[in-house]
Amino acid sequence: MQRIPTAIWTLTVGVLVTLVAIWVGNHVSLFPEQASAQAPLVDDFFKLMLMIATALFLLVAGTILIFAVQFRRRPGEEGDGVPIEGDFALEAYWTLIPAVIVIVLGVYSVQVFTEMGGFAVGGGGGNHLLMGHQHSATAHLVSDEGESSRPKYGFGGSGEPDVTVTVTGMQYAWIFNYPEGIVSGELHIPVHKTVQLNIKSADVIHSFWVPQFRLKQDAIPGQDTVLRFTATKVGDYPVVCAELCGAYHGAMRTRVHVHTQEDYEKWLAENLAAQNPDMASTVAVNTDHQ
């Protein structure tokens, strides 16, 4: 093989593989629509990894297939192949390149994870929550259990969330308790507001997952967890239990309704009136709070 054509081939293949990888990264969408502030972070990160994976797959699988065809034993051929036992430069190259790629991905994933609130679990917001909502029945439950049940796991954030809901997983339903006293089988939240879910389990481990939010957090018996997010799109999305929780695990589904602020307040008011007919006066107070 002459030198120049090889270089040109390598360059052409490199450019083609890069183009295909970029195209795949931008056009192949495996994920459902994005409905939370965290979703684009995850998706962009996945897009980058999909590009790298596509490029690597094309290069490695392509090389294997080309070698497999090019170096097949032709009829009548005898003997062995070329006795090459290794090449230090080449081996160092293909150890270092993947090492650099995974370190870059590792650092990037730490950054994405920080932005998602992965490092602020039980931070300022969580503590505020415990103190700020002492009046509510659910907060009482939390504080009664003492220090050990303060959320250590999940996704948090700094400052106080706009809306706090206590989520309880049980075979095979999710129950949502609002500080205002509303109990619901479906989650209702306002769009563009910070929502913090305090997740509990009444029996076995469940996992709260909204695919459109790209967020998931297990509900662990004996240890509360938190999940803080901001919904960015009005609509309603499935809430899925992702951790095997018994025979009807697959049926443990509900919906999360993301409302505009007005609709959310309307929903709150209606439900307060319906569930606490004697507490009509608190409606004004609570809606004021927003």
Binding site: M49, F67, V82, I84, P98, S207, G222
Partner: protein, 544 residues
């Protein structure tokens, strides 16, 4: 390629004339201490369990053909998914790869007459049938239903009798692994022929060494986790009961401390098989012998520090998610080194497309897909979305079906002539390969999309929007199930009537090919002497 057969000055080096030459069929059903008998016992036992586990998968995929749970009861579905996973890991891949190939090949490859502790070896095998019976018997009590991970509290409250049997079964299988691991390490350290230095030991043996070290370090932890679970279920303790002061997260740490390394336990021997099959059929020295053996050792070490990536959405402190994201990603590097080395081994070869080689190349491509999706899963942000979904199911089936089962098939096609003295039929082998490759991809590729779109794993019922993709998967599973038929016909027919293989049908250079096929009871008349390395294809060799 005849091996120099120089008698060495050692009393045990020559088999006496009156020694029996071969075993009879019924010896394979006894407490036999010959490593070759034990190897075949492991392989046949595990293949039977592969068929049983496969049948369970087919029933589950049939259930998933429609969104509603209309074929079987959801409790039975969960029992099937639990036992499918358990059997495929503890009844098939681990015993076949480590017990089967390891026992059969390690003494032959290092020029030993048997394993270091033959009776311990037989004991290790005979722990498995009761383990298998406990698993299958658990169906009489409803079947363990908490998944192969058996997370408490679910495992504490569903089918206590079946769950206890499940725990005992795994503890037995784990004990068997530990006994086997000790045996492998001592065998390799002490029984190599004097002419074989460590750096001429075949890569399969290196892989088995790494596997054995990993087994010794991780399996006891699983045993502890399960024994505590057993106590919680039966004897009123509360290690994992949150309402009595227990902690459910501790179990997950104990479980995954073994069960992630278990992935490497399954894959390292397969990597070893690949390192033997590829050079022989490509007629090339393996590219980067030292790189491959050191990457096995690196995987063995780093593999102990990645378990928390199974718990990113569970109870994991933030710093741990980051530490384990990075350590998980690092495993990709030594694994990549292996893939690149095998690919480079193909370059400049004269590749024979035997069924063994086809499965080896199939494995390479399947494993690249599984490895790349593994990188995405290793990073905490993406894992949070796809954890416990069909994306994970897709990933580990690419790794464990594409990576392990393909490798086991490659190994069977490669060493069947050695084990039985007869050749397998190549046409049936190629039909088997094509059906397996197509079936596996149709079954597992769509699962990536199912998972990212929102389908959780371990469900007997799902949203109607996922119907089409699930039906494709189910059809793939039927093809995959059918792909076993040509293989079974081939093995049974060839074992009895296949053409005679001779000592070295592939013209391979490792020591196991220097003796008869099948090898006589003590392996060699006279212990062999190494005259060249295990992969010296295409080089000047001392022909004798």
């Amino acid at each position: 390629m005849a091996q120099a057969q120089i008698p060495i000055s050692h009393d045990m080096s020559v088999v006496p004339e009156n020694h029996p030459k071969a075993w009879r069929w019924y010896h394979y059903f006894t407490f036999n201490t010959d490593h070759k008998v034990i190897g075949i016992q492991y392989l046949v036992f595990s293949f039977v369990f592969y068929l049983i586990g496969g049948l369970m998968a087919v029933v589950m995929r049939t259930e998933l053909y429609t969104p509603d749970p209309d074929v079987i009861d959801p409790n039975l579905y969960n029992a099937l998914l639990t036992n499918h996973g358990t059997i495929m890991i503890f009844g098939w891949i681990v015993p076949a790869a480590i017990g089967g190939f390891g026992n059969y090949l390690v003494p032959l490859m290092i020029g030993a007459r048997d394993m270091a502790f033959p009776r311990l070896n037989a004991l290790a095998f005979w722990l498995l049938p009761p383990a298998g019976l406990l698993l299958l018997g658990s169906f009489l009590f409803g079947g363990a239903q908490a998944g192969w991970t058996a997370y408490p509290p679910l495992s504490l409250i569903t089918a206590p009798m079946a769950q206890s049997m499940w725990c005992l079964s795994i503890v037995l299988a784990g004990t068997s692994s530990i006994l086997g691991a000790v045996n492998f390490i001592v065998t390799m350290a002490k029984l190599r022929v004097p002419s074989m230095p460590w750096d001429k030991m075949p890569l399969f043996c290196w892989a088995m060494l790494a596997t054995s070290i990993l087994t010794l370090l991780s399996t006891p932890v699983l045993a502890i986790g399960l024994i505590l679970l057993l106590f919680d279920i039966n004897f009123g303790t509360s290690f994992y009961k949150p309402d009595a002061g227990g902690n459910v997260i501790i179990y997950q740490h104990l479980f995954w401390f073994y069960s992630h390394p278990a992935v490497y336990l399954m894959i390292l021997p397969i990597f070893g098989i690949m390192s033997e099959v590829i050079p022989v059929h490509a007629r090339k020295p393996i590219f980067g012998y030292r790189a491959i053996l050191s990457s096995s050792m690196v995987i063995c070490f780093v593999g102990l520090f990645v378990w928390v990536h199974h718990m990113f959405t569970s109870g994991t402190p933030p710093w741990m998610r980051m530490f384990f994201t990075i350590s998980t990603l690092i495993v990709a590097v030594p694994t990549g080194v292996k893939i690149f080395s095998w690919t480079a081994t193909l370059w400049g070869g004269k590749i024979r497309y035997t069924s063994a080689m086809l499965f080896a190349i199939g494995l390479l491509i399947m494993f690249v897909v599984g490895g790349l999706s593994g990188v995405t899963l290793g990073t905490a942000p993406v894992d949070v979305h796809v954890h416990d979904t069909y994306y994970v199911v897709a990933h580990f089936h690419y790794v464990l079906f594409g990576g392990s089962v393909f490798g086991l098939y490659a190994g069977i096609y490669h060493w069947f002539p050695k084990m039985t003295g007869r050749m397998l039929n190549e046409t049936l082998g190629k039909i088997h390969f094509v059906l397996t490759l197509i079936g596996a991809n149709i079954t597992f590729l769509p699962m990536h999309v199912l998972g990212t779109q929102g389908m959780p794993r371990r469900v007997a019922m799902y949203d109607p929007q996922f119907t089409t993709l699930n039906q494709i998967c189910t059809i793939g599973a039927f093809i995959l199930a059918f792909s076993v038929v040509p293989f079974l016909i081939n093995v049974i027919w060839s074992w009895r009537w296949g053409p005679k293989a001779g000592g070295n049908p592939w013209q391979a250079l490792t020591l196991e090919w220097t003796t008869d096929s099948p090898p006589l009871i003590e392996n060699w008349h006279q212990l062999p002497v190494l005259t060249h390395g295990p992969y010296d294809y295409g080089k000047q060799r001392a022909e004798v």
